[in-house]
């Protein structure tokens, strides 16, 4: 095992990784921007290095500064958390070049799976079902029109380099296609420096179901069940749960095995997630692979009793998985709600600022992951995630009741700071969510000023 782990991240995930490092007896080195000078992980860490000013591109995304911090702290491993440099093959490569262990998959795997086009090809080869569409990027408007006509409208045009809900566009009408194709290419170019796009069928009412996988460096892989992440605003998840409600047992196992097969075939090592869309006929389609620990990993930890960050570190240290698929049994139900400092009434705009008061939920079967403290601030420089509130219960109705109780305990005060707490409560209350039959259109139903007639 390592001696010192540098955590190349901030906020709740930096603290969460630090906690597991501490439990494993590893020295914790934190990095921070000037904006995060007084942050919780800086206080928690054994050592902390200032790596740059607030804007992430000059600090958390600035590779030379991170690598220098690793050198100065004598780190022998770097945990990238999620976001920032976590899925940058360059970063993983730089670690390798410096003799540091990158806690994540090998650079070549990140490269292949981060590109949606090669990822789709790899997963198709491994026998995973794909939505009708193109595997290779589509080179011109004419070709796109032909593909779209073949697979049928609506279609979705996606940037090969996209992710996190950015760089994609649904096209419902053939007449709009040429213009929207040009737009998404231009957006993709400016966002990712890569204007390649592909096309696939768009499922307006699908569920977003993902499978958590662990692969060690000895060729072993296991899955830890599903997470349903269908409650999304602007394609950003806000409520996640495990298991996925209402899926037939056979489907669950089929998807789990497919995910493990796909990642092992791709040479994956570490914790990874395979995202699928599941349609109303319970057919599933590969969507993408996330080569990192995910924001919503706690729900899997709660149902499976596994510390996923510990497994990441063990795998990165070359150890074998110490649990078999048969031993990995889920118990009960877990739900996560992401508390964002944002205003749902004003299009979910972030509301950063000073937190003059903060009361977090606690008690039986409630877990809160946050780096926020009363007297601290939610910085405008980063994403507005304030806390992740997770609950566990023996079944889904009890878990929902517990989450309602937990959310009611939350109190956030600060000038100009609001949260999506009440919006989350509304979503939890929606008959479709309560029935577990909701899909990715749920938030639109809640925010649409003209609610549809259909149930």
């Amino acid at each position: 095992m390592f001696e010192t782990v540098l955590i190349a991240n901030r906020g709740e995930i930096a603290l969460r990784v630090a906690r597991t490092c501490r439990e494993l007896g590893l020295r914790v080195a934190a990095v921070y921007s000037t904006e995060d000078r007084d942050s919780t992980v800086v206080r928690f860490a054994d050592q902390a290095v200032c790596i740059g000013p607030g804007p992430a591109r000059h600090s958390y995304l600035y590779l030379p500064a991170i690598m220098e911090a690793a050198r100065q702290t004598g780190a022998d491993a770097i945990h990238p958390g999620y976001g920032f440099l976590s899925e940058q093959a360059d970063f993983a490569e730089a670690c390798e070049a410096e003799g540091l262990t990158f806690v994540g998959p090998p650079p070549a795997v990140i490269d292949r799976l981060g590109d949606k086009s090669t990822a789709r090809a790899a997963m198709a080869d491994a026998g995973l079902p794909l939505l009708p569409g193109t595997i290779e990027p589509v080179g011109d408007a004419e070709a796109v029109a032909k593909v779209a006509a073949d697979i049928g409208y609506p279609v979705i045009v996606k940037a090969v380099a996209g992710g996190g809900g950015r760089g994609m566009q649904v096209v419902s009408e053939p007449d709009d296609l040429a213009r929207q194709y040009r737009e998404i290419r231009s957006t993709a170019q400016s966002l990712f420096g890569d204007d390649r796009v592909y096309v696939e069928r768009y499922l307006p009412a699908a569920r977003h179901v993902e499978v958590q996988v662990l692969c060690d460096s000895h060729g072993n892989g296991v899955h830890l069940g599903q997470r349903d992440c269908s409650v999304q605003r602007r394609r950003q998840k806000i409520i996640e749960e495990s298991p996925a409600p209402g899926l037939p047992r056979g489907l669950v196992e089929q998807m789990g095995h497919a995910a493990v097969r796909g990642l092992l075939a791709a040479g994956y090592v570490g914790a990874g997630t395979v995202e699928f869309l599941v349609d109303d006929q319970h057919r599933f389609y590969f969507m993408e692979v996330n080569c990192r620990i995910q924001v919503e990993h706690p729900v899997t930890e709660l149902t499976h009793g596994v510390d996923l960050v510990r497994e990441q570190l063990r795998i990165a240290a070359g150890e074998q998985l110490d649990v078999s698929q048969a031993e990995l049994t889920a118990r009960g139900w877990a739900i996560e709600c992401r508390i964002n400092a944002e205003d749902p009434a004003r299009g979910f705009i972030p509301t950063p600022g000073l937190l003059t008061g903060l009361t977090l939920p606690a008690g039986p079967f409630v877990r809160v992951d946050t780096a926020a403290v009363a007297g601290g601030r939610i910085s405008a420089a980063y994403d507005p995630l304030l806390a992740k509130i997770c609950v566990w219960a023996p079944d889904r109705p009890q878990a929902i009741a517990r989450m309602r109780r937990a959310l009611a305990e939350l109190s956030v005060e600060g000038p100009g700071v609001s949260t999506n707490r009440d919006f989350l409560l509304t979503a939890l209350d929606h008959p479709l969510f309560v029935a577990g039959t909701h899909d990715t259109s749920l938030v639109d139903r809640l925010t649409d000023p003209h609610p549809r007639e259909e149930s």
């Binding site: 000037t34 054994d46 030379p64 500064a65 220098e68 730089a94 007297g375």
Partner: protein, 163 residues
């Protein structure tokens, strides 16, 4: 800072910087919890002394009881000597000369012009020049040749009056 409870790991690091850090943090904590900022504050710990004074005008706004963070220049280390600081542009290794054993770019007492190179910080083979922020005289060089520096760490202090 937990680093202090593991004496084994402090070996190479400058204990003075650490002590300064502790004193500064102690002062900040103390001030943050005060409803009214004092006219003067002095903290001394062994070799380390922190003294602070506020002018009349600064005291008035201080009367707002909100949790006031560090009084001024929160991004620079505490109680810097008077003058203008030159901060590290990046985390890395500080060099006073262009090559090992070479003549330092500047020494204490030297006159410098704004924009003049006074040092180098190396980060991952990138050699980033450190330049004077103002015309003046080098009052102090705070960082030894070859020492690790963080972003924003004060490397030198210039007296601009002396320019």
């Amino acid at each position: 800072m937990t680093s202090l409870i593991e004496p084994a790991q402090t070996e190479g690091a400058a204990p003075l910087a650490e002590a300064l850090d502790e004193v500064r943090r102690s002062a900040q904590s103390l001030l943050a919890d005060l409803a009214h900022r004092p006219r003067a504050l002095r903290i001394r710990a062994g070799d380390v002394v922190v003294e602070m004074e506020w002018t009349e005008q600064q005291q008035a706004p201080a009367a707002t009881p909100a949790p006031a963070p560090a009084p001024e220049a929160p991004d620079t280390p505490p109680a810097p000597p008077p003058g203008v600081g030159i901060s590290s542009p990046i985390v890395g290794t500080f060099y006073r000369a262009a090559e090992p054993g070479g003549t330092p770019f500047v020494s204490e007492g030297d006159q410098v012009r704004r924009g003049q190179q006074v040092g180098i910080v190396e980060a991952m083979k990138l050699m980033i020049p450190v330049e004077a922020d103002a015309d003046g005289r080098i009052l102090a060089v705070h960082t030894a040749d070859g020492a690790p520096v963080e972003f924003g760490e004060r490397l030198m202090t210039i007296d601009p009056q002396a320019g």
